[in-house]
């Protein structure tokens, strides 16, 4: 009998082009996703050395980080425009398919990959973006790379990679009502810290993960990097297959059924081992809110903001002190008492149709608090269209949300969607670093449901109680 293997080992073995002592493996890359911010210098490097893109057919480009979410036609910032134009020229010159800013396939790179069926189980997927881990939800080995590596993949369709250590994040039991995939991944990072996954590829397993839809699984895998892991994945199952069937870039008909069979065979074997295992009890997870300046600084919505004395190490106490100061919070204050000025529903973590549906269900028939400015930025054109067909845009607009075009938007504020200094935002994105949403901006990461409830209440509220009663 063969030794049982985990999915990471299986996918790795299938992609090794060359192995030799004292060197990392030369790994073949099946799909290279490209966007405007981390690619211009890579294309320039190719030009300078007279090199070509080896496999334009395995390369797919979109524009997302800089794009305006209001009035698509006008890019006010000339430098943003230059970056966007440069990607268009590069794709033209090197023969790469591009979903440009007016293309119906356009959207955030990690939203459109799965949507189009480009993302498939067992593929090695890279992109010059750390949230490439999102695609791991399908059982793909997907990780972010820097611009030099982007150039390397463009030129050779390979990367030198040392085989990663594997870590099983086991989620036991089921999530409670009103507790989401976002709360789970925040709780995992809160429990194990922002670098527990460094050097590892994570596989998420357990009942709660199996019960999740593909969109929820993407939310979980998306934030693997916030725990330090370059990649996080989930073994494919029937949910994966059902999501992919009929998508544009997957095999069709009989060929799909064959592919599905080989995909399912990638799932981690019974009895396979990992380099490490951590466990969390799903039933204990409550809706989370981050209070500080990294995603590990999160607490249940029912809890109070921590104080520096709670940490043991001096460096940690310092970090908490600095974070409280930056965030303008008092140690010990209930997080639910914190008033917010902005709500952002969007980003590659939480801007898919199911996210918007869940947020809309919370706000239906209610009004955004007068002191709050709230926006919804769908993850792609097609999410936007689908939401409009269901009338979700009306629900949001009637409640007082702005309904925007797709893009990264306020997740990192490279376009004009920026939070002013000192103001506070409940955001469904993935990073609450200092200045992430604008210099001096204060970001609190939450689920779409929690963001929606906060928009109505004007402060954080426990969405589990919120849906049951009227809040003023």
């Amino acid at each position: 009998m063969q030794t049982p293997k985990n999915i990471v080992q299986k996918v790795w073995e299938q992609h090794v082009v060359h192995q030799e002592n004292g060197k990392p493996d030369l790994l073949y890359i099946d799909l290279h996703l490209v966007h405007e911010v981390t690619s211009p210098q890579a294309f320039e490097g190719l030009r300078m050395n007279g090199r070509k893109v080896r496999r334009p057919d395995l390369t797919f480009a979109t524009m997302d980080h800089n794009v305006p979410t209001r009035q698509r036609q006008v890019i006010n910032d000339p430098i943003s425009k230059n970056q966007i134009d440069t990607l268009a020229q590069n794709c033209d010159e090197f023969g790469i398919t591009l979903a440009d800013i007016h293309h119906p396939d356009n959207g955030i790179v990690h939203v459109i990959g799965p949507e189009l069926g480009l993302t498939q189980p067992g593929k090695t997927i890279v992109c010059g973006d750390s949230h490439t881990s999102t695609h791991g939800a399908f059982g793909a080995l997907a990780f972010g790379i820097g611009t030099s590596e982007v150039e390397h993949v463009l030129a050779t369709q390979t990367l030198w990679q040392a085989p990663p250590k594997t870590l099983n994040v086991k989620v036991n039991g089921r999530l409670g009502t009103g507790v989401t995939a976002k709360d789970l991944i925040l709780a995992v990072i809160g429990k194990f810290g922002v670098k527990f996954g460094t050097g590892y590829v994570i596989e998420y397993t357990g009942e709660a993960i199996r019960e999740m839809s593909m969109e929820e699984r993407m939310t979980v895998c998306n934030m693997s990097i916030e725990g330090g892991a370059r990649a996080g994945l989930i073994s494919p199952d029937q949910t994966t297959i059902d999501y992919l069937r009929g998508r544009r870039y997957v095999p069709q008909g009989e060929a799909f059924e064959q592919a599905a069979e080989s995909w399912l065979a990638l799932a981690t074997d019974e009895g396979a081992s990992y380099d490490d295992v951590v466990e969390i009890d799903a039933a204990e997870v409550e809706p989370q809110v981050t209070w500080g300046t990294n995603p590990g600084m999160c607490i249940p919505v029912t809890a109070n903001v921590p104080s520096p004395e709670q940490a043991e190490k001096a460096s940690e106490q310092d970090e908490i002190k600095r974070a409280l100061e930056y965030m303008g919070l008092e140690a010990g204050q209930p997080i639910s008492s914190v008033k917010i000025d902005h709500v952002f529903i969007g980003s590659c973590t939480n801007s898919r149709l199911s996210d918007l549906r869940k947020a809309a269900a919370v706000i239906q028939g209610k009004q955004v608090n007068p002191s709050v400015k709230a926006i919804v930025v769908p993850g792609s054109f097609s999410v936007k269209l689908a939401a409009e067909e269901e009338g979700l845009d009306q629900v949001f607009k009637e409640a007082g949300f702005e309904w925007r075009d797709s893009g990264c938007s306020m997740c990192l504020g490279m376009n004009d969607d920026i939070i002013p200094s000192g103001e506070r935002c409940a955001s469904t994105s993935n990073r609450n670093f200092e200045g992430r949403q604008g210099k001096g901006a204060r970001t609190h990461l939450v689920s779409p449901e929690m963001a929606a409830a906060a928009a109505i209440a004007g402060h954080f509220v426990d969405v589990r109680e919120f849906t049951a009663q009227e809040v003023i």
């Binding site: 080896r54 230059n82 820097g146 590596e149 390979t158 460096s315 990073r431 200092e434 210099k439």
Partner: protein, 193 residues
């Protein structure tokens, strides 16, 4: 890429943990399409106040650390986004070596590709250096071949580095050029699928 064998330089301490790439280079400066010129934006939100004046308390602004080429920082340095603009900014500002207890994976990779040596030291070694760097003119010698860091006062330690990045740095290789010599293998792999 420039080769790096032995480097001697002034040390600048930055005693903070979890320094993310959004701090190293804030997003408003990611829009350039060149590789050069990012040094002026390094740690921008920490180096400058709201009016754009240098923040006097920030180490990189202190006259005694002017011209430093070795950056010393707390654990999990370079976490967050994959932006290679972060090492570009660090390098363009004049740093050639970083010393910290730990790094984010992607950042560390990006450093190697740009000829920056990111040394993993112990928490204790880092704290020792940070204390010593209080003295004006404190410098370290880094010998990559021997994997050794030392100062003129007898303080020294060895560090680990895997063979491949070490070779890359020592030789200043163009990695793509190297990989292209494996073209036959890559073709074979593609045909066999």
């Amino acid at each position: 890429m420039e080769a790096l064998r032995i480097h001697q330089g002034l040390v600048c301490p930055l005693n903070r943990t979890n320094i993310d790439t959004d701090q190293i280079i804030p997003k408003q400066f990611l829009k350039r399409i060149e590789r050069s010129g990012f040094g002026q934006f390094l740690f921008y939100n920490w180096r400058f106040d709201d009016e754009g004046n240098p923040s006097p308390d920030f180490p990189l602004n202190a006259p005694k650390y002017k011209g430093a080429s070795i950056l010393v920082a707390g654990e999990n340095f370079g976490c967050g986004s994959s932006r290679e603009h972060a090492p570009w900014a660090i390098q363009d500002f004049g740093f050639k070596v970083i010393i910290a207890p730990s790094y984010a994976d992607i950042f560390k990779n990006n450093c190697v590709k740009n000829g920056i040596l990111a040394i993993q030291a112990t928490e204790e070694q880092v704290q020792t250096i940070i204390k010593k760097a209080d003295t004006e003119g404190y410098s370290l010698t880094v010998n990559l071949e021997e994997q050794m860091v030392s100062d003129s006062e007898g303080f020294q330690f060895t560090f680990d580095i895997t063979p491949y990045p070490k070779e890359m740095l020592l030789n200043g290789w163009d990695e793509i050029g190297v990989t292209l010599t494996y073209e036959d293998k890559i073709k074979q792999y593609e045909l066999a699928r």
